[in-house]
């Protein structure tokens, strides 16, 4: 019902709506039905009240304020009106004003830019004051504390933070801290590290709970990994001006080392040696290939005869064995028993005879003991020798240095002409390896991940 009425009203209010009765206009039809509205509800205050007049008045007031800076009725007469007397004064003012302007202006007066004009405030109403900008939270409290501080400062009492500031020492940023603290600083300080008594930081339980307890070094680490001494003095033949015999001794040792190397090489060569007489000649090759193929007739006959005999024999062997008879079984049993009896008797007699063999038994036992003792001694000696050897600690085996020897014609007569042999650096490095402090190491090789391909330049290809 309401929807139908709304529809009619909408239709009527359309422009160009024609009524059947010419006297009745659409407005009559619309306005005749007025809806009853409750104006006391807040919802309807805005909808159904007409404040246009008030709005007009207020708009007028605002306009006046914007353009003239206040209500016109309140302004004084002088500000609104002036007495028009004539023009010549204005011309003089204009002439006075002109020479003030710069010479650059020829005909055009300097006008402000349009953009500046646009951006200016064009209303004479002052912008409202931002009260919050002037508000200070706790302004009163702060003022009071400042006054109190002033009073105390006047008396000489300084607050704690200021006191700490004054006590702070200046941090020396100019000195290079890292260089002085570095471990290899040549000017570094040493102190008595063994003389100081250990600082008792606290009870062990406390230290353990607060994780400040220092971990004890395992006892095994204090043992030296090798029995060799740190510095091995060279043999007396290594002196720069050696005694004849000790020098010969040293030369002999070096000679033996070389001999060993040569032996190994010779052995290898012998193993790889190839006897030319062993090469297969054409004749032997032919014979091998032709084996069994040539001279078939004679050989076949020879082979046939022995084959037949073999077959007969084989046929005979395949014949089934007869079953064992009772007699045979009994016989076998009796034999077994006899054997066993014989064995036991033998054992008994042996035991009895051993009484008379005591001496020889004793000697054999003694011999065995001696051999075991000798073996034990040998093993112990081997172990001791092994201790002095460098252990195998990694991929590479320990390679001892070449002996430092100077041949008889290289020996210098005086200290000035001495040419040192071997380097102490290498010696120390090898000594560290020998004493099992580090594993033997080799210089790292340069390995390529990708293969290098060699290509001839075109020019060279033509030549070669």
């Amino acid at each position: 019902m309401a929807a139908a009425r709304r529809l009619k009203r909408v239709a009527i209010s359309q422009p160009g709506f024609l009524t059947l009765n010419p006297k009745v206009t659409p407005t009559d039809l619309v306005s005749s039905r007025r809806k009853r509205v409750n104006k006391n509800k807040k919802k309807n205050w805005n909808k159904y009240s007409d404040v246009q007049d008030v709005e007009e008045f207020l708009e007028d007031v605002r306009h006046q304020e914007r353009t003239t800076g206040g209500l016109l009725c309140e302004k004084s007469d002088d500000s609104l009106f002036f007495l028009d007397v004539g023009q010549p004064k204005k011309v003089e003012e204009k002439e006075a004003a002109e020479p003030v302007k710069g010479k650059k202006r020829k005909g055009k007066s300097s006008r402000p830019l349009r953009i500046d004009l646009i951006l200016q405030h064009d209303s004479l109403v002052a912008p409202p004051k931002d009260v919050l900008a002037y508000q200070k939270p706790n302004a009163k409290k702060l003022r009071r504390t400042a006054e109190r501080a002033e009073k105390l400062a006047a008396n000489g009492v300084v607050p704690r933070s200021k006191k700490r500031l004054l006590n702070r020492t200046v941090v020396d940023r100019m000195s290079k801290k890292t260089e002085t603290e570095a471990n290899n600083n040549p000017e570094r300080d040493f102190y008595d590290i063994w003389g100081q008594e250990t600082k008792d930081l606290g009870e062990p339980w406390y230290l353990q709970q607060t994780r400040k307890k220092l971990v004890k070094r395992p006892e095994k680490l204090n043992e030296k990994p090798s029995v060799l001494p740190a510095v091995e003095v060279i043999a007396p033949g290594g002196s720069y001006n050696p005694d004849f015999f000790s020098h010969q001794e040293l030369l002999r040792e070096a000679h033996e080392v070389e001999l060993k190397k040569k032996k190994v090489e010779d052995k290898l060569e012998r193993q790889l040696a190839y006897n030319k007489a062993d090469t297969a000649t054409e004749e032997t090759i032919l014979r091998e290939q032709v084996e069994g193929l040539v001279e078939e007739s004679e050989e076949e006959e020879e082979k046939d005869a022995p084959k037949e005999d073999g077959e007969e024999v084989a046929v005979g062997a395949i014949a089934v064995a007869d079953k064992k008879t009772e007699r045979q079984r009994k016989r076998e049993k009796a034999e077994k028993m006899k054997e066993q009896q014989r064995l036991t008797e033998r054992r008994q007699t042996e035991q009895q005879q051993q009484l008379f063999q005591l001496r020889s038994i004793k000697t054999s036992i003694k011999q065995q003991e001696e051999t075991t003792q000798i073996r034990q001694k040998r093993r112990k000696a081997k172990e001791e020798a092994q201790k002095a050897q460098p252990r195998r600690l990694g991929k590479l085996k320990f390679q001892p240095q070449d002996m430092e020897v100077q041949l008889s014609d290289e020996l210098a007569g005086s200290l000035r002409q001495l040419k040192p042999e071997g380097s102490v650096l290498m010696d120390r490095f090898k000594s560290l390896q020998k004493r099992n402090l580090i594993e033997p190491r080799e210089r790292a090789k340069f390995k390529r991940r990708l293969k290098v391909k060699y290509v001839e330049k075109r020019a060279f290809k033509e030549i070669s």
Partner: protein
């Protein structure tokens, strides 16, 4: 199967060891860092007895560490420093790459560093432990101080090594503890006795250096890092034991020239060494005590070997080594100003007693070759200077580190030296040699004539002499000799009474014992032949 079965490689030695890569991953360090850490903390790889068990069946060569050691490493604060350093390097590279120089400076100023003091205290809880390991440290420090100052290793390390070695040498001079010196073809070996410990170290010659390529410099540098710290602390302690100020307040030039006497903490007037009361220790007889006293006296005498002598070193001799040796035994030394700073007196000084020269000939009397000094030190007495003049072939430089047992071959030079030490003058032998040389020039006829003359004289005397009864002279029978003779006779009797078998064994043993003596005799004969041939050569040369 049931869950409580024992599986292989879960117990025992297989779980006690850990491979190097596993250890590295456990510590979260790179391989060079891991190596450095192991070297610094003194953790070495172990070779297990049964490799197959530990390696879980394979025999591939791997480096094994004890698991307990690696667990101990986890608590080390230096590990954190290594990681910080890695990050520092990364940041620095980035800053360089972006060319942010202010960042580079800032990072460089705050570079992470670490100190090794706590490690030294942990590894060497007492001072004597540290002294025992000081051999190695000294060798490394001396070696590094001779390196050239290129960028291969930190220049600071080289400087620190130089400073420490100079301080050590000054300590040895001040305490007069040098005992043996040996010049070898590799370098110079020194041995000193410090607080009862015998310390041996090698010093390379100054004038040769071909750096071998196979040596891992990083490893050596890490060892040196540790050893410089150790040596510094030990030096401090040693200096304070002598009441000397450490670091020495003498100027560096004087210190490095080894010509300064170190300042003492408490300036004491010349202390008279109080004679200690002699109490025999447990189990010692009077004989041993006397022997000990004798040794101490000898040592005291040795310490003042060069006292009162003034030496001048020429330019071609190894200055530092000689200055060190001379000053260790109380002598004064100087050298040419152009060689090094710190020379005290000039060539023209008249109070110079010996001048050390290595050139072929200058002509004057008291010029000696440097080997004299070293041989004197080893012999513990002042040897006659004549053997070491210019142009003379030097006697061989024997090694003081060889201790000859009875029956071994002893070179005649050593015999001479021992004779000198005992106080006999071998000068007679020399004179005899000279006389022999002169006499050989004469012909045999003259000698025969002399003998005849002597014989005639004797005959004459006898004829003139009348037979007189003169009081008899007492033949002093040496009791000791008699006893020895008796014993020898008894031995001979016993040998005669032995059975055949036993005699055979005895002969074998004696043969073995006498072998050494026979060899020594052989060598002596050889030497004599050699000497004779040389003399003949000399004669021929003269003619």
């Amino acid at each position: 199967m049931g869950g409580l079965q024992k599986k292989k490689f879960e117990r025992g030695s297989a779980t006690n060891y850990i491979t190097r890569n596993r250890a590295r991953k456990k510590l979260q360090l790179s391989l060079p860092d891991f190596r450095r850490l192991c070297i610094l903390k003194g953790i070495y790889p172990h070779e297990p007895k049964h490799k197959k068990k530990v390696n879980k069946g394979s025999t591939a060569p791997r480096t094994f560490y004890l698991l307990k050691d690696i667990r101990f490493l986890l608590h080390e604060p230096i590990v954190g420093k290594f990681r910080e350093y890695k990050i520092f390097v990364r940041k620095l590279k980035k800053a360089y790459g972006k060319t942010e120089w202010s960042a580079v400076e800032r990072l460089r100023e705050n570079k992470p560093t670490y100190k090794l003091d706590h490690i030294i205290k942990e590894r060497y809880p007492t001072f004597i432990d540290a002294l025992r390991d000081i051999d190695d440290a000294l060798c490394m420090c001396f070696l590094f101080s001779t390196f050239a100052r290129t960028g291969k290793c930190h220049v600071q390390t080289i400087q620190l090594c130089r400073r420490l070695t100079v301080e050590w040498m000054n300590y040895v001079i001040a305490s007069r503890s040098l005992r043996k010196v040996f010049l070898s073809i590799k370098g110079i070996y020194y041995q000193a006795e410090v607080m009862g410990q015998l310390i041996t170290w090698v010093v390379p010659y100054q004038f040769s250096h071909d750096h071998p390529v196979d040596v891992d410099y990083r490893v050596m540098a890490t060892f040196t890092e540790l050893y410089t710290t150790l040596l510094g602390f030990v030096s401090f302690r040693l200096y304070s034991s002598l009441n000397l100020v450490y670091p020495p307040k003498v100027s560096w030039t004087k210190l490095s020239a080894l010509s300064a006497s170190l300042a003492r903490v408490v300036s004491s007037a010349d202390e008279e060494e109080a004679q200690l009361d002699q109490f025999p220790s447990e189990g010692e007889d009077m004989e041993k005590m006397e022997a000990r006293e004798k040794e101490l006296k000898q040592q005291e005498a040795q310490k003042k070997l060069f006292e009162g002598l003034k030496f001048y070193l020429n330019r071609e001799v190894p200055r530092e080594s000689l200055a060190f040796v001379i000053r260790c035994f109380g002598g004064q030394v100087s050298w040419d100003k152009s060689v090094c700073i710190g020379s005290t007196y000039d060539v023209t000084d008249e109070t110079i007693t010996h001048q050390i020269i290595d050139r072929p000939s200058v002509g004057k009397q008291y010029y000696i070759q440097p080997q004299w000094l070293y041989d004197c030190v080893n012999a513990k007495i002042l040897l006659p200077v004549e053997d070491y003049f210019l142009g003379v072939t030097l006697p061989p430089h024997l090694s003081p580190f060889v201790e000859e047992k009875e029956g071994d071959y002893v070179p005649p030079e050593k015999l001479k030296m021992m004779a000198l030490q005992r106080g006999e003058k071998p000068g007679n032998e020399q004179e005899e040699d000279e006389e022999e040389e002169e006499e050989e020039g004469e012909q045999e006829e003259e000698e025969e004539q002399e003998e005849d003359d002597n014989g005639d004289e004797e005959d004459d005397e006898e004829e003139s002499l009348h037979v007189k009864v003169t009081p008899g002279k007492l033949k002093v029978e040496n009791k000791a000799r008699l006893e020895q003779e008796e014993k020898a006779e008894e031995k001979r009797l016993a040998i005669m009474m032995m059975k055949k078998k036993e005699k055979y064994l005895y002969d074998k043993i004696m043969f073995g014992k006498k072998r050494k003596v026979r060899e020594a005799n052989k060598l002596a004969a050889k030497r004599k032949a050699h000497d004779d041939s040389e003399k003949e050569k000399k004669k021929k040369a003269r003619k």
